[in-house]
């Protein structure tokens, strides 16, 4: 393996490791008898339901919008306008389905963007191969 590839792989493994949530109970795909209803309820909590969680005092900021963020907002609205998805599907995909690591780890419109890509694949408007090819093609434009 070339050393710069090795460096990239190691960096990737390192970042992935750092992004693992810290759990305070052992988890090993337990037997049904090992999960009581209180735990079941806790596991059913969705990661976007943050109201009431403690957090630190912060300085409140305004934010300049990236062009891709505005474009993402508009793309998501156009997909709705033309009937590709409805509000319930959008919310499920942008908030619930991501899991805690991505939900809290990605920028706000980054979540929107992933959900737009996924709805197009899941509803078979595009294939994953088409998406990957398009991503490669777009990347080349910037080289």
């Amino acid at each position: 393996m070339p050393s710069d590839t090795r460096q990239k792989v190691l960096r990737h493994i390192d970042i992935v490791g750092q992004l693992q949530p810290a759990l305070h109970q052992p988890q090993h795909a337990p037997l049904p008898t090992e999960i009581d209803n209180a735990h079941y309820r806790a596991y059913m909590r969705t990661s976007h339901d943050v109201g009431g969680e403690p957090d630190v005092t912060i300085q409140w900021h305004e934010k300049e919008e990236e062009q891709w963020e505005l474009n993402t907002y508009v793309t998501c609205e156009c997909l709705a306008w033309r009937g590709v998805w409805n509000a319930e599907e959008r919310r499920r995909r942008q908030n619930v389905d991501l899991g805690q690591t991505q939900y809290l780890g990605l920028p706000y419109y980054g979540r929107w963007l992933l959900s737009a890509a996924r709805i197009m694949v899941d509803k078979q408007h595009i294939t994953l191969t088409e998406l990957m090819n398009k991503i490669d093609e777009v990347k080349k434009r910037y080289e």
């Binding site: 109201g51 900021h61 990236e66 062009q67 998406l131």
Partner: protein, 230 residues
């Protein structure tokens, strides 16, 4: 000084978000899910919205008790008088999934503030795009539990004998605050009044004042490639 301690931007190349955004948009257009013209028109709408219609709704209410009654009882109908049709906010048909606007009246004994704990629901047609801080997990986490502390970080101290009521938005129902008309604005016109009803006043994190025509300055996170025209 503060800038020195800021981390260097992690993005030093075209970001994967930018690439994915172009890819998704172009594929959607190529597949006919929407047209390039649709995207352009909606972007135009997105640029056109802001807090002015809501400010006008408040100013009108301060001047006209009948309109105020309507605004508090039926925000949907009152919005039409300031040019906002919740069923069709763009004027060319859109996915509006929220058609219930509730206007929350502040009184000498109750102060309202708005949040969306589950996501970031916001009355965009009448108030424009939500500020970044409104979308942060931090604001959503703490406001429902420690509202007075959070408000004080916005520079707003609510006296202990005033009740603070936090309204949690949801997909179908959006909120805006109708602040109390401040002293020193007697004989003002609707235009003059609308000027002091800023976005933050209608979210409940600030109060209108005769000398305050813009929201408090806060630090701004700069964009790497900001929206054209900003």
């Amino acid at each position: 000084m503060a800038d020195k301690h800021k981390p260097a931007p992690m993005v030093d190349e075209v970001s994967d978000f930018e690439v994915l955004e172009v890819a998704v948009r172009e594929l959607a257009i190529e597949k006919g899910l929407f047209s390039a013209e649709d995207h352009r028109r909606f972007a135009e709408f997105a640029h056109s919205i802001g807090p002015l219609p809501a400010a006008r709704l408040v100013a009108k209410s301060w001047l006209d008790p009948e309109f105020k009654k309507l605004a508090l009882e039926d925000g949907f109908t009152a919005s039409k008088e300031v040019g906002i049709d919740w069923l069709n906010p763009t004027g060319f048909g859109t996915p509006s999934d929220y058609c219930d606007l509730r206007v929350l009246e502040n009184t000498p004994s109750v102060h309202h503030v708005v949040v969306c704990t589950l996501c970031s629901c916001y009355p965009r047609p009448i108030l424009g795009h939500s500020p970044e801080w409104y979308r942060t997990p931090n604001y959503r986490r703490r406001l429902v539990r420690w509202p007075r502390q959070v408000l004080s970080e916005f520079g707003l101290q609510i006296p202990s004998d005033v009740e603070v009521r936090v309204e949690d938005s949801n997909q179908k129902c959006r909120f805006m605050v109708m602040p109390m008309r401040p002293e020193g604005t007697e004989d003002w016109s609707e235009d003059q009044l609308a000027e002091i009803v800023t976005r933050d006043c209608m979210l409940g994190v600030a109060l209108p004042h005769p000398d305050r025509k813009a929201d408090d300055k806060r630090p701004v996170h700069k964009a790497a490639n900001p929206v054209h025209g900003h």
